[in-house]
Amino acid sequence: MFDRLLLLTLIIQAMAIAMLLYRVVKGPSIPDRVIAMDAIGIQLLAMMAVLSIYLRTSAFFEVILLLGILSFIGTVAITKSIRKGALVEYDRNR
């Protein structure tokens, strides 16, 4: 019963990613696409967490953390590039 519930969760999450992909492709503005990408990252984290419960393993925990870090930094980077034009400035007070 519990396993079926987990499988159902996985399917729903996969469908969510498919819908978010539509937003990434269609998304009228760039911020839409960025938010959709960030949400896809979070969905992937959640899928991996559910998967590791389903498989009764702790092997994916490092992957979850690493993906979380990367998706966070990626979103920050894209947001900053939209906001300021440059990713890394030499002197921010100039």
Binding site: I69, I73, V76, V88, E89, R92
Partner: protein, 149 residues
Amino acid sequence: MRTNNLILQTVTKIVIFIIMTFAFFLFISGHNNPGGGFAGGMTTAAALVLLYLAYDVKTVHEGIPVDFKTLSLLGVFIAVVTGTSSLVMGKPFLNQSFGYYTLPLLGETELTTALLFDTGVAMAVVGMALTIIDAISKDISEDNCPWKP
């Protein structure tokens, strides 16, 4: 237009410790589990990239006064010297040795020369990643351009 990244900077101040801790965990767990010098180094580099994003090149260089090119060369040097040390012991090149030691706080711990090698790898990866970030963030017209544009 001046903008203020107050939220990003505050979040970064907290998150940087989490990422660094995780990087160190990856680095230490590497010998028998997923992780190791490369993954640990890459995660450390990610943390420093976050600093670059939230602040700027000048501030980060004031806080971390290290030449990253030298850091990466030093890292490779440490890795190769670790491999070479087995020549002195009369073993084949790159041979590794390990032993069990009782350390304070940690209890009995396995220490290997592969950890030293991984330290070198991690330094090389951090140095290289940040050299690239440095290079793409610099304005070519600045005084640091090696050849006249």
